[in-house]
Structures are given as structure tokens and as C-alpha cells.
Symmetry: C2
Subunit: 793 residues, 2 copies
């Protein structure tokens, strides 16, 4: 459709224009009111200092633009009967989205104590950024929101996540020009190469150029128009530009642009769905260029404010103390003519409400923003069909993640029609040995394909892009809108999304306390290609600290599992995929690993989270002399090898072997819902015997979890201590003092009263370490006795 | 210059072509040799299984492309006498850069045991990815490298960092098409809006499209050529495209493109420097499209390898066991005709060496890649001129970061000519109250400016872009090439660069162990706008966990400081700016904060890192009854208020106040060079008295640091426990049980043998908490007694 045709096609009537402008003015009034007013919400009397909040907090600058989008989305949703979710990238513009949902009535439905009348307006204003009230951002408390936007960068990836497998959904996404400078946002433009026009909904990016960040112009707003246009076309979009500062003209232009964009989207979806057109779609987008803090004070204290960075937060400060500012604020608020917008009872008048769509089509009321209402249990069958047979511990080997791949394939297959399960990863699904998935779904890909390609599929549900940020953002958006998924990632590089998982955990922690938010599927990480097996890559790929990072966060949300073998991995993955409102971190290797537990034993062990492996120890009834504890696949192997050495060399020693799968079991019961009581803890670890704990990651984590336990002073932890490089697997454990020989030495050093035989064994162990070290340096491989080791009693 | 003119301009002679191809073939041979060969490096005898490494590790796929760039950079460096640094984004192509530096002789100069002859070649091959040898990546061990590239995404930001304030330097930057999908890389394209053609060097991005990642096609390689061109033009570049798989044709085309790019760069720099042209420059870049694993095996076991993702790591596996693979490997290696490239002694022949530039112009020998050779001490004068006067503790208030801003302004001013100091931040320099800097330097900005703009400067050395990734990458590149800087960041959002700081710490940890790498300036963070004062933003902006993250890493590199006031901030910043090879994390507030220590006292206190504030306690000679410890500005204020309450209400109690500035002092001496001995620790904290520790961040960090101390079981820590929202400052500490009243209650709960009076005081404190809570909820502000509190004895 040419521009000229299009301009003929949509022209707002005078009534429509008046109504849209009324809604927008009302929203602007409400946004400013939230920042400033404690009382006198309708300005029924002249503004006085006591009507003003004592602390002025919030962000005005972005609000008029967000309001404009809210207003115009209302119109097209109503006119076209669209199912729509909006992701508000500049989420610090909370006053705006709160205003929109109060106007569309959804706010008062969820919070009946804030009705859509004068009393409600006063509460709406007062509660904003007020102690005991609501946060200043588009936080979980805000109806219609899946995206807080406090930490910028993730709006577009969230929008795509929401659109995947939601063919009838339109996801509008407002991207601020500040946010557009971030890496995660810059990467996520290419998400359009992964959006299937047949099975997925549409994403409509609205790049809002208001020109300024906190204190600087934005890069994109200062590009020549043609250069910006090239950039967006290079991202694969067909941009529609709306620019202006005259409200009526901008209303008309934005209405035109939205109609054109939605016409194009409808056509593209029809071509793909009915016409079978399989070319990559160049989706439309909107570039909306309006002044920052538009309609706010033009100047304050002689300095320009509207249209500059000075409008970012609170344009008029010290209003209680400064009569001129008070006067300016009153003039500003009255410029919206509230008396035309709200009745004497504070209810919005008909013109204001005219553009608002009905019922669940309202942006504040869409179920897609409360995904727990839509989520269904995943079809997960019995684990027995995927389990590896274990007749005897430690004699057969499997690659745990490959076994998990079989389970995931089945889930992928059994959701073929429902399409509510996705696996994301940064180009590592096969490297992480989950390739069985491809039997059930290819990899989503809309760009060019070549004959040599494998498993690319325009309709695939495996998502691979070399951006952990985009993977994480997609999955978050997918889960928040009521679906399921798993993120498989190299362990070291999941730190790339440390800050994103922070925000998701904060979201879940808050959402769990809101009765109206239904629980959503957990965010599940499979961290593999882990620290101990970076044979190809070495030190840069060695970092087990994500567990530490996550365990700092809200205990009601975070769960960490270190399954020691294939069947335990199946068990914890099954649990994670069924769970709700958690962030589950599962760390498991992809390399061949001994099978220790049968499926039944694995289920029982994982249900306990930590337990004694009596078949591995040498206890006989009484208290042990020493506890060998382990968490993680490699430490478990080394502990069992150490137990075997002890059994052979010091058979009189009563050794207990404890394996920990669920790390939070180590925490006190008062600090984590999975935490053990002291009674339980002492039952496993004893209160006074030496405990040698071989842990997968940084050793001090175990101390941080267990420092309150009675026996803590007897706890000695081995783990990764940043001694990494490109070397053999056994050399890695030796370098970090986690090897079987070192563990035996630790036992001998810590068990009191051992005899001279023990001293000789200790020397043997030390000699063995030297022997291994020398062999590895000479041959470049581990000694056959390591490579071929297996457990025997 | 038009394309046609250009094609006339550069045409390789037959000799040049032969020489370049010889160098490239030699490099390819050496790269493959490193991955495969244990011995028989010159193939002087038929290849046998025992010549092959037992573990085949490394990445072949990217190597031929990197080699090609190395070869051609050699040519233009020599021809034009350029000072050049190359950043190798696909750093896993270690074999290639190792080959290049061995060929240019720089490798053997640094590592004389690996000479440029047959014996050296055998060592070069054997040591690669071999235990005790060298890592597989372009790690610190590799001459000419400032960028390991293991974690992808940072090459281009590093390149810009290296180019800033290096007007005579060309920084070539190879960007893999995998890396190009990451967020940090995508964001860093816009760095060209910050590069000053007058004072900065040039960055020449070379986007290498080999089409595949580990297991997938890359997004950029599958865009239509015109769309990719638009994207790169939208990024502000003028791209030159080189595509092919015929070596001779590609040699010619790449030589032409490089000459054209360098001609343009020279012209642009001349225009800006001599002609005074102040328009934003659209720098050239090269798009190099060649097959992945080019010149390697075309097919293996019937599947295509060359030109596909299958060439990513080791194209021929199991060579020792599989005679056909062995045969293929030999044919592959011999296809480079090593006998033409190396003499019988293994020395490269003249043709191979012809393109290599001289001396320090060689890529492996540039001092810019060993920045410690170039770094000069910063001119930092006496702190006294910036210090705030403190006659009496806790009676005056200053904003610590604003005071620091004065010091930074002076450093910025005193480096005006040297131009070796930069301050970076994500649009927060003024928000973080460092705006005094603008008196000495504006903010770098090459894009459009408007009359309303402030402090934008084409030659500025303050760098602001709303991307923590780009800030971090720029600063790392700047430091690694021998300059100084500071990154000021909101505390919560520094987690965005968790993974980047990991890699920088790993780099420093390794570089410190290489005698030839001279120490560089430390990476200094100022984390402010911290967890306790997120009045405008609330929960999403509250996260003090970066300290925990950093303290997991190599202790020889990491330092963490929590100065409690303005003068202590000056002292630690001064120390950090003078230091070498550290990552210094400084956490300090920007809000008005009581001044506790005079400059002299601050210096002495910071030198100790932790100490007793006897003026604040009520000890009188003997052991105290209780220790009130604090770290961080807000906890220090609350501890002092608690001490004051105790003095007033329980005057008989002997209270010791300890303040900790340097967090690593708490660690055992054996675990950190700053760690206290147990004797020192017990001297401060006692071995058996209750210690109530008010800490800025997650409380368990203190336990993790101090768990080995004798008195640990008497240690009770208060800190941030994820109870955040938009509220008043005092409500924040109450919510997290860090407030003065709670601390007094903690003391009463833990000091044994207190009388009934104490019980009454405890009740008073509990009542005070309720009274404050209610007031805050009602008025939205803290009670005046909090707002106006000051210290008195």
C-alpha cells in the first residue's frame, strides 16, 4: 500500500479526534497527579502546598508518550477487535500505565479500594511512590504488565516471547530511545528472523524517540532520518515514521500509522497462513518522535524543560516551598482542563472513555499479562521410559543431558498441537547434547536456508540465537504469558544474564504476593558444559558462580539442583518442569558420567534432596568417623573414588557418603522453605565429626549455607578455586584440590587418632598426585586408571 | 573515491600475491598443526598415529579467516608504516593468532624456548591446548592480544577503548558473525558516535561472515546482501564487501578493500585534524565473506565440512584410530605444501616472511597490547584540597560522590594534554553527582548537537552511553592499552557486566603471572545510587550483590571498599587510581551523608582498612561487652545512632564501634593478601563477645568472609535481605532490620546478664519502630528526628 493511498484510508473524524485527545489529556493529568498530588485530585479548589506530596518521586518525561500509545492502542483494539498485550519498555513511566488501567477500569476491578471515581483518584494519586503504596514503575502490581522496565533492555525480547505460539495476539512494544542503546535491546531486533507468521502472533515495535535519557541526548534520536531508517530496515523492519509536537496532527498521524501497520500485519499473516507464502516477512514498525515531557512545563526557572532531558523525572521541584513552582504546577494541571474530563464525582466522562475497548480486550485486563490464568500442566509421562538401567552403581556411563534430551523430545512431541513448550539456547542445544529434541521440533528460522542446513524449521519451537540475553528475554516473555520452557546454557556464560534473572526473580517474588496474579511456570535453567569439562576452551569458560548469585535472592523463588547422574537429572528436571513461580537452576554435565542410582532410587533421593548413600560408605550402625559429602557430578565421582580408596587402604575407618542434590537443603529451615532442621542436618552430617565436602563450585558457598549448623567448624570444603586452564579432566580436579587422592588426604588430616598406617596411606596419595601430574604433562591425557575407573565395593 | 578508480589503484603484483599466499598457507598449516600434531611437524615422514595428539582440541573453523586478516594486515602495516593493534573477536581461533605471532617472530622473542625453527614449531604444536602448555584461545599468553574472545561480544568495544586517545593507532577488529548476534556487540556499533577523529585513532571493523556458529547458520550471513548493507550503513559505517572462496581472488579483493579503507581513514583524519572538518565521520569497514574452515577437508565421512558448521572445532576426529581420517589429515596438511614454506630447518622461507613488518610494528610486538609498558602514573595531587573539614564527627553533611567529583575534575584537568584518563558511565555521571568533571572535560559526542545540549564535546573524555556493556568494554580496552579510568554505575545495574568483569579478572589474574606483561592501571568501579537510596525507583534498582560476585574471583586481583563518608571515599579513590592490575569496587552513596573523619583520620583509617572508632564507643580500657561493626555509609550511620542510643539508655554497657572500609580485611590472611591475621581480627572484634555487624549488602557475605574466625559464632549480621520497594530511606532500613532501634535490640538480645532496665529499653526500641512505621505510612516522609539526627556524645 502506498503512502498516498494509506493517507486516504485512515482519517480520524472530528469526534474520534476529540475523544482520543480527551483520553490522552485525562491520562496525562492522571500521570502528573500521581507524581504531585496528595489531595485535591480534581483541583476543585486552588492548589495549596498541603495538597502536594512531601517527596516528589517518579518519571514524567516518558509518560505523555506512553499515554499517547495507550490511547491509540485502545482505539485500534476496539476498532479491530484485537487481542493485544503491550510491553512498556520505559517502565519507569509507571504513572502512565497506572493511569491507562485506571481509565479502562481494569485497575479498579483488581483493586476495588481504588474505584474509578474521585475517591479512587485520590487514592491512585496518593499511593504512587508512597510508603505502603505502589512502586513507581510498571511493576507486577500494575494490571496488564509483564515487564517492569526498571532495568532497561529487555522489552523487545519480552514482546517476542509473548508473541511466540500466540497466533491471535498482537504484542505492541514501546521501546524508549534510551533503552535502544543497550546491548540486549540492540540484539533483540533480530528476533524477527525467528517469528513464525503462521503459529506466532505479531510484534509491533514502537520506537519512541523523545530525544533524551537522564541527562544526555540519545544516539538514535540524533541520527539523520535516513540513517535511522536504514538501520531499522537493516534490522528487517519496514518503518512508519510519526513525528510532531502538535497534538492533533500527531493523533492523526499515529492513527494512520497504526492502521497501516495493522493492515500490513493482517495481510502478512493471511499470506502466510492461507496463502502459504513462506518468504521472510519484513514486519512494520512505528517510529514515534514526540517531545520528552510533552505538554509539561515548557520552562522552569528560566531553563527549557519540555522537550529536554530536564523533563526526565519531576520537572517542577520543591513545589511545597516554591510558590512560583506551585503556580506553574497548577497551571500545568489545569491545562488539561480536568473539569472537561471528569465529572464532579471524579468519574471520567464519556468522551474520555469512548476509545476504550471492552472486557478482556482492555490492555489492563488481558489474560496474557497474567499468564498463570492460561497455563496448563505440561504432559510429562513416566520417567521410567527414559531412565537408564542401573544394576550396580558406578559401572555404566551415560551423558546425563543426552538422556534428558529424550525426555524433552517427548514433551516437545506431546505439545505439538498445544505449542506451549519451548527450549532456548545460545547456539548450544546440540553442543549440550539435547539434539534428540530435533526429532520433535526443528529450530525456528525464518531467514534464508541452504541445502546443507539441518533441523531449521519455519515452525520450530527450539530457539537458538547467539545471545544469552535474547534467549532469556524470549523465555521470560513466553513464561509470563502462560507457557513453559527451558534454557540450556554453558554454565560460565549464564552470568551474562545475571541481571536479567535478578529482575525476573524480583518479579516472581512480588507477583507471588499478589493474590490476583496466578502462578506461572518456573524459569528452568540447565547449566551444562560446566567448569570441570572445558577441555576445548579452558579458563574463560570456567565459572560456577551463577549458583552463588541466585542463592542471594528471594528464597521463596530460587531453587538449585546438582543431580549427580542421568536418572537424578531426569528426576529434578521433571520436578522443575512441573513447578510454578520458581527459578530452578540445574547444573549437570554433558560428558559421560557414571550412573549411580536406579530411577526409583533417584526419585527417592531427589525427593529428600540430600541423603546418605549407604552402599558407598563403610558405616556399620554407629556414628561414622568421617563424612564424605558431595554435590555435583564430578565431585560425586571423586568422593566415591576416595571412598573406594579409603575402603581399600583404611578398612577400619567408618566412612559415610552423603550426596546433596538440592543445595537449599543445606540452609536453615527458617531461611529457605527447603532448608533442613538442625535435627535433620545433624542426622546426615553429624554434629561433631569431620565432614569433607566436595562441591562443584566455589567452596565458600557451602560455608555460607551451613554456617549456623552445630558441626560447622568440622566442615571442610573443596571446590573450584579459579585454578583453570585448557587441560585434562583429572588435571582440573587436581589443580583445584578436589581429586580423590586429595580427599583421602583431607580425611586422614582431619580424623583424629589414626595410626601410622594412615600416615603411609597419606604419603601414597601424595605420591599418586605427583605421578598423575607428571603423566598428564608428558602424555596430555589422564592415566588409564582414571579414564577406566569404575566403582566397586 | 569510486569503486572503479579504486580497483585501478590497488592491484597486487604477482610477487606480492605469491608472498601473501605463502604467508597465509604457512599460517593455515601452523594452525592445523597446533590442533593435530605432537611431532613430525614438518611432515618429513609419512604421518603416523603416534604423531597425532591423543586429545584433539581447538577451533579450526575461524582460523583460516583470521589468518587471512593477519596476512593482509602485515602487508598494509609494512606498506604504510602503520601503528596497528588487532582485536581478534573470534578468540577461540587461538591457533591462528599464535601462528601469526610465531611467523612474525614476536612469539619467539617473548618465549625463546619456542624459536622460529623446526624445534620451535614442534613445541608450538605440542604446547597448544596441552596440559602445562598454552590455552586454546587468544589469551593473555598470546603476544599482541588484549582480548581473549572466549566469551563473545566485546571485541568492538575493546577496539574503541584501545583507539580512544591514541590518534596514531589503527585498531583493526575482527568480528565473527556469531559474536555479532550478541547484545554487547550489537550495541557497540554505535561507538562510532563517540570516536573523535582528531584525538582518537581509527577503528576498522572487519565483519567476518563465515556463515556458521557452533551448529547453526548466523543471522547476518543469511540476510540479503542489500539488507546487511543497510544495517551497517544504519550503524554509521560505509562498508566494503569482500566475498569469495578462490584464494587469489580474495587476496586481491581484500588488498583492494584494505587499501581503500585505509585511504579513506587517512583522508577523514586529515580533514578533521588539518581541515577542521567537524562533521560526523562515516568510517569504512570491511565485510569479509569466506567459507568456514576454508582450505580444510571439504568432506568427512560423506558429509560436507568446509563451508559448514561442521568445521567449527576439529574437522577430522579420531585420527589416531581412523586410518582414513589420518590419510585425510595428511593430505590436508600437505595441501599447503609445507616444503615450499619452511626450510629443512623449519625456518619460514623468504616468501613467507616478505609481508611481515618490522620491529614494534608487528602485530605480535605492538606495545599497545602490553599497555603496562606505556602506562604513566596519574597526576594526583594532595587530597587535602578536596577534603571536607570535620571538626566533630557526624555534624556536617556532604554528598560523597560530589566531593569525589572535585578530585576527578582535577585529574581530568591535569591530564588534558596527556589524554590518558577517562570516566565512563551509562548516562549517570551527573545523576551520580560527578558533574564537576564537566568543568574539565565535556562528554564525547560526534552526532548532531542542538542548542539546548550541555557539555557535549567532540573532544570530550567523559563517555556516556546507555549501555553498561559498552562502557565496560571501552574502559577495558582503554586500560589494557595503558591508560586510566573510572566506571561510575548504579549499584544494581553493574550486574549487567558481571560476566565481563569475570573475564577481565581472569585476564588480569593470568597476565600477572606472565613476566613479560607489565602491570596496567586497575579497573575502578564507583557503585553509587545504591540499594538504600532508590527513592525514585524502588525494588528493581536494589541489588548490592556485585560485591559478592567479585569476591568469588581471584583474590590477587579483587579489592572491595565501602567508604563511610566523603573523606574516606577520597582516600580509597586515590588509592584505587594509583593502583595496578586490580579490579577495585568502591561502593559509596551520592546522597548527603554525615562526615565522620577528617582527611588525616580518613587516610589512617583507610590504610588500616578496618578500625575501632573509639570516639563513638563507650569502652574504657578493658574488653567491650559488645562490638557494633559497620561497613557502608548507611549502616555506619545506623550503627552510630545505635551507639548513641546505647550511650543514653544503657550507659554502663561498654560498646566498641568498628568500621570496615576494605571488605577483604575480613578474610583470612591465607585467602587474601589484605586479610587480617586471627590476632588482628580478634583484636578488633574480640574472640568471644557478641558482634552486631551492620553491612551494606547481603548479610551472609560477612559470614562467608569471617567463618573461620574464632569469634564467628558470636557474629550476628544485619543487611539487605531483598525487602525493597519505593519508600523512604528510613523505612528501607527498618524493612531490612538494619535500623538503629533494631540494632539496639540486637545488642540487648545478645549481651548476657543485662538487667530489667535493658528489657525496658528493648521495649522502647520496639515501640519506636512501630511509631516510625506508622508515621511514614501516614506522612510519606521520615520523622524529623531521623531527618535531623546528628551525632553527639
Amino acid at each position: 500500500m502506498s503512502k498516498a493511498e494509506h493517507q486516504d484510508a485512515t482519517e480520524l473524524s472530528a469526534d474520534e479526534l476529540r475523544e482520543l485527545d480527551a483520553h490522552w489529556r485525562a491520562a496525562n493529568y492522571l500521570a502528573a497527579g500521581q507524581i504531585y498530588l496528595l489531595s485535591n485530585p480534581l483541583l476543585t479548589e486552588p492548589l495549596k502546598p498541603e495538597h502536594i506530596k512531601p517527596r516528589l518521586l517518579g518519571h514524567w518525561g516518558t509518560s505523555p508518550g506512553l499515554n499517547l500509545v495507550y490511547t491509540h492502542l485502545n482505539r485500534v483494539i476496539g476498532a479491530r477487535g484485537l487481542d493485544t498485550l503491550c510491553v512498556w519498555g520505559p517502565g519507569h513511566g509507571g504513572p502512565s500505565v497506572l493511569a491507562g488501567s485506571w481509565l479502562d477500569g481494569s485497575y479498579s476491578e483488581i483493586y476495588p479500594d481504588v474505584p474509578r471515581d474521585g475517591e479512587g483518584m485520590e487514592r491512585l494519586f496518593r499511593q504512587f511512590s508512597f510508603p505502603g503504596g505502589v512502586p513507581s514503575h510498571v511493576a507486577p502490581e500494575v494490571p496488564g504488565s509483564i515487564h517492569e522496565g526498571g532495568e532497561l533492555g529487555y522489552s523487545l525480547a519480552h514482546a517476542y516471547g509473548a508473541a511466540f505460539d500466540n497466533p491471535d495476539l498482537l504484542v505492541a512494544c514501546v521501546i524508549g530511545d534510551g533503552e535502544a542503546e543497550t546491548g540486549p535491546l540492540a540484539a533483540s531486533w533480530h528476533s524477527n528472523k525467528f517469528l513464525d507468521p503462521v503459529h506466532d502472533g505479531a510484534v509491533l515495535p514502537i520506537l519512541h524517540l523523545n530525544g533524551y535519557k537522564i541527562a544526555n541526548p540519545t544516539v538514535l534520536s540524533r541520527l539523520p532520518a535516513a540513517e535511522l531508517d536504514q538501520l531499522l530496515r537493516g534490522y528487517g523492519h519496514d518503518p512508519l515514521h510519526v513525528t510532531g509536537d502538535d497534538p492533533a496532527a500527531v493523533h492523526r498521524a499515529l492513527a494512520r500509522a497504526l492502521d497501516e501497520a495493522l493492515d500490513r500485519i493482517a495481510l502478512m499473516q493471511r499470506s502466510a497462513r492461507e496463502g502459504g507464502v513462506a518468504e521472510r516477512v519484513h514486519w512494520p514498525m512505528i517510529v514515534l518522535r514526540t517531545p520528552k515531557g510533552w505538554t509539561g512545563p515548557a520552562e522552569v526557572d528560566g531553563l527549557p524543560v519540555e522537550g529536554t532531558w530536564r523533563a526526565h523525572q519531576v520537572p517542577l521541584a520543591g513545589v511545597r516551598e516554591n510558590p512560583e513552582h506551585l503556580r506553574q504546577l497548577e497551571a500545568w494541571l489545569r491545562s488539561y482542563r480536568p473539569e472537561e474530563l471528569f465529572g464532579p464525582d471524579g468519574r471520567p466522562v464519556a468522551d474520555v472513555l469512548a476509545c476504550i475497548p471492552d472486557g478482556s480486550r482492555r490492555l489492563g485486563a488481558t489474560a496474557h499479562a497474567n499468564g498463570g490464568l492460561l497455563v496448563r500442566d505440561l504432559p510429562i509421562g513416566s520417567l521410567d521410559s527414559f531412565a537408564v538401567p542401573v544394576d550396580k552403581p558406578g559401572t555404566t556411563l551415560h551423558e546425563p543431558t543426552r538422556i534428558l534430551g529424550d525426555l524433552l523430545r517427548q514433551v516437545m512431541k506431546d505439545t505439538r498441537t498445544r505449542r506451549d513448550f519451548r527450549v532456548v539456547g545460545p547456539d548450544e542445544t546440540a553442543s549440550n547434547r539435547l539434539q534428540a529434541l530435533y526429532d520433535a521440533s526443528g529450530k525456528a528460522w525464518q531467514a534464508e536456508t541452504l541445502p546443507v542446513d539441518e533441523h531449521l524449521d519455519r515452525h520450530g519451537r527450539v530457539l537458538e540465537i547467539l545471545s544469552e540475553h535474547t534467549c532469556q528475554g524470549w523465555l521470560e516473555g513466553y513464561l509470563l504469558t502462560g507457557r513453559h520452557g527451558l534454557f540450556s546454557c554453558y554454565e560460565a556464560f549464564v552470568h551474562i544474564v545475571d541481571s536479567m534473572v535478578n529482575q525476573h526473580i524480583k518479579w516472581l517474588r512480588t507477583a507471588r504476593r499478589l493474590p490476583w496474579r496466578a502462578p506461572i511456570a518456573s524459569l528452568n535453567y540447565l547449566l551444562t558444559s560446566h567448569v570441570w569439562r572445558q577441555d576445548h576452551n579452558g579458563f574463560s569458560h570456567q565459572d560456577p558462580g551463577f549458583v552463588d548469585h541466585v542463592l542471594n535472592k528471594s528464597p521463596e523463588v530460587v531453587r538449585v539442583y546438582l543431580p549427580p547422574d542421568a536418572n537424578t537429572l531426569l528426576s529434578v528436571a521433571d520436578h522443575a518442569l512441573r513447578s510454578r513461580d520458581y527459578v530452578n537452576v540445574i547444573v549437570a554435565g554433558k560428558q559421560p558420567c557414571f550412573d549411580w542410582l536406579s530411577m526409583d532410587a533417584a526419585r527417592a533421593h531427589c525427593a529428600r534432596g540430600a541423603g546418605i548413600w549407604d552402599w558407598a560408605g563403610t558405616e556399620n550402625g554407629g556414628e561414622p568417623d568421617v563424612v564424605l559429602a558431595c554435590a555435583g557430578d564430578v565431585p560425586t565421582q571423586e568422593v566415591l573414588a576416595a571412598a573406594q580408596l579409603l575402603r581399600r587402604h583404611l578398612p577400619q575407618l567408618a566412612v559415610r557418603v552423603v550426596n546433596v542434590v538440592d543445595m537449599t537443603r543445606l540452609m536453615p529451615r527458617e531461611e529457605h522453605p527447603h532448608g533442613m532442621t538442625d535435627f535433620e542436618y545433624d542426622g546426615l552430617f553429624t554434629a561433631d565429626k569431620p565432614v569433607i565436602f566436595a562441591y562443584h563450585g566455589y567452596p565458600w558457598l557451602i560455608h555460607r549455607l551451613a554456617y549456623r549448623r552445630t558441626g560447622h567448624k568440622h566442615l571442610h570444603v573443596r571446590g573450584y578455586k579459579e585454578s583453570g586452564t585448557t587441560t585434562t579432566p583429572f588435571d582440573m580436579v587436581v589443580r583445584n584440590d578436589l581429586d580423590r587422592f586429595r580427599l583421602v588426604m583431607d580425611v586422614i588430616d582431619r580424623v583424629p587418632g589414626l595410626d601410622v598406617r594412615a600416615a603411609a596411606v597419606r604419603q601414597e596419595m601424595a605420591d599418586a598426585r605427583t605421578r598423575h601430574h607428571d603423566w598428564i604433562r608428558e602424555h596430555g591425557t589422564d592415566l588409564p586408571e582414571i579414564a577406566d575407573w569404575s566403582w566397586s565395593t
